[in-house]
Amino acid sequence: MTSNVSDTRTPVGSATRTVIVPSARERDPRAYAFRRRLLERGLAVAVPLGLIAVWQGLASAGVAESPYFPPPFQIASSWGDLLANGVYVDSVLASVRRIALGYAAGTVAALVLGFAIGSRALLRSALEPTIAALYTVPKLAILPLLLLVFGLGETSKILLVALTCFFVVLINTIDSVAGVSSRYLDVGRSFKASRWAVLWHITVPAALPRTLTGMRIAAGMAVIVIVGAEFVAADAGLGFLVWNSWNLGVPEYMFVGIVSISLIGVIATALLRGLERLLTPWNR
């Protein structure tokens, strides 16, 4: 289907003749590209829908009946209930707020420090071992400490997200800044560009693709860590919804929470991909 060549073999006596003609793709490249895009987008939606349909089918047929795995329709109707009584919107807003504030604080701090540390070899030697050691500490493990210092309020949870994002973005930014090719820096020096001009016109754009990758990974980790924090130290949020539903023995609500958390992760990642496309147009 994607091949550029369609060949027809016709017997001519004992020999065969190969005829090479333009494929459908070559004859109408725009229509081909359109159909291809449609197919790709369609598959991206159809596969998860298909999996849900199989789940529903199995449940309806009584094959996989279990109180712990409610069928999709039942989860959807519980979703409706939670929306109607306002619990759902409150949970989503509470989690999204913590993620957004923590992510913004951690990422901005990491970007500033990352560019400063990455572009100075001495700062790198001084700080890299410490940063590497702190990075490997599972951030959820210091939640009790944060709770002790900052209490049960929002601060401790936002800080937890901020710390998680901070180290991921910091390490990626330092590496990408330190890895900027000296060829480009030589060009700046040979043109007598100022320190700020080199930073803004050379180091930042050269380091941007990899830095943005770090920011995307951090967004996913922010979602993971906030759910963990909300399990133990919150009275609102999607993590709390899941945990509380377990306590109450309502698996439908648990699934509503789980699916919503994963949707938030998907949306955050998509937003950052959009940002990447916007900020690095030369990479297309």
Partner: protein, 259 residues
């Protein structure tokens, strides 16, 4: 040391040693060389002979380990030097126009002026129509022309070129040599041009400093007798050209076999 007005750059007993874990490498050994005002000087030698290092020292990108270099800066309104690098020096994140505009802005041009100057030099290098393209969407030859336009637009008193055509295929290389010859004959900057191609050095240079390998030394300096303006085809067909090429080749071959 006495200096006559004609000397633009005076390289005096310059040495350069690179030290690394692998040991000490003496890249340049007591190089002495004058670059005269307005001349096109080619540094010719086998790879690893230190010609790029010498150019980088002149560009203040490397510090010499010994000796000194004196450069005369006549017009404070123009930069002393600009470098055309070998390859991959055009910024992929800037459009072709912005690649040329950026150094101009660093050298005191206002944005509007800089855009006009950039447009002029892009036209000189046949890049009109590609101003808004990103470098990775055009060919290697075009990228290298951007690098040349970027340096020429600054109107440096001294143009330092580090094998600017080395990464191009043979035909494209001939075309760009002719372009460079044409541009230089109209602008007459002082040029130091690093190359490993004998033909290129003979076609473009007024003088050729032939270097020997490890540690880099100036083996001999050859005056190129061809009158200007030069016609590339005529020069390549001449008997002098063949004779000089042979002469230089034998020197280089001795060097290569000795090392």
């Amino acid at each position: 040391m006495g200096h006559d007005e004609q000397v633009k750059v005076s390289v005096q007993a310059v040495g350069k040693v690179f030290s690394s874990k692998a040991g000490r490498v003496e890249a340049l050994s007591r190089i002495s060389l004058d670059v005269r005002d307005g001349e096109f000087l080619c540094l010719l030698g086998p790879s690893g002979c230190g010609k790029t290092t010498l150019l980088r020292v002149m560009a203040e990108l490397e510090s010499p380990s010994s000796g000194r270099i004196e450069m005369r800066h006549d017009d404070p309104g123009r930069p002393l030097s600009a470098v055309v690098f070998q390859d991959y020096s055009v910024f992929p994140w800037k459009t072709i126009r912005d690649n040329v505009v950026f150094p101009l802005l660093q050298n005191g041009f206002r944005r509007r002026e800089a855009r006009e100057v950039a447009g002029h030099w892009l036209a000189q290098l046949d890049l009109t129509g590609f101003e808004n393209s990103y470098p990775d969407t055009v060919s290697g030859g075009m990228k290298q022309r951007v690098a040349i336009a970027r340096a020429l637009a600054l109107r440096p008193e001294l143009l330092l070129m580090d094998e600017p055509l080395a990464a191009l295929d043979a035909q494209l290389r001939l075309l760009l040599q002719e372009k460079l010859l044409d541009l230089w004959q109209r602008n007459q900057n002082t040029v130091v041009f690093v190359t490993h191609s004998i033909d290129e050095a003979l076609l473009l240079g007024d003088r050729i400093a032939v270097m020997s390998a490890r540690p880099g030394r100036i083996d001999t300096v050859i005056d190129v007798p061809f009158a200007r303006p030069r016609d590339p085809d005529e020069i390549r067909a001449s008997a002098d050209f063949a004779g000089l090429r042979d002469d230089i080749w034998h020197r280089l071959r001795r060097e290569l076999q000795a090392s």
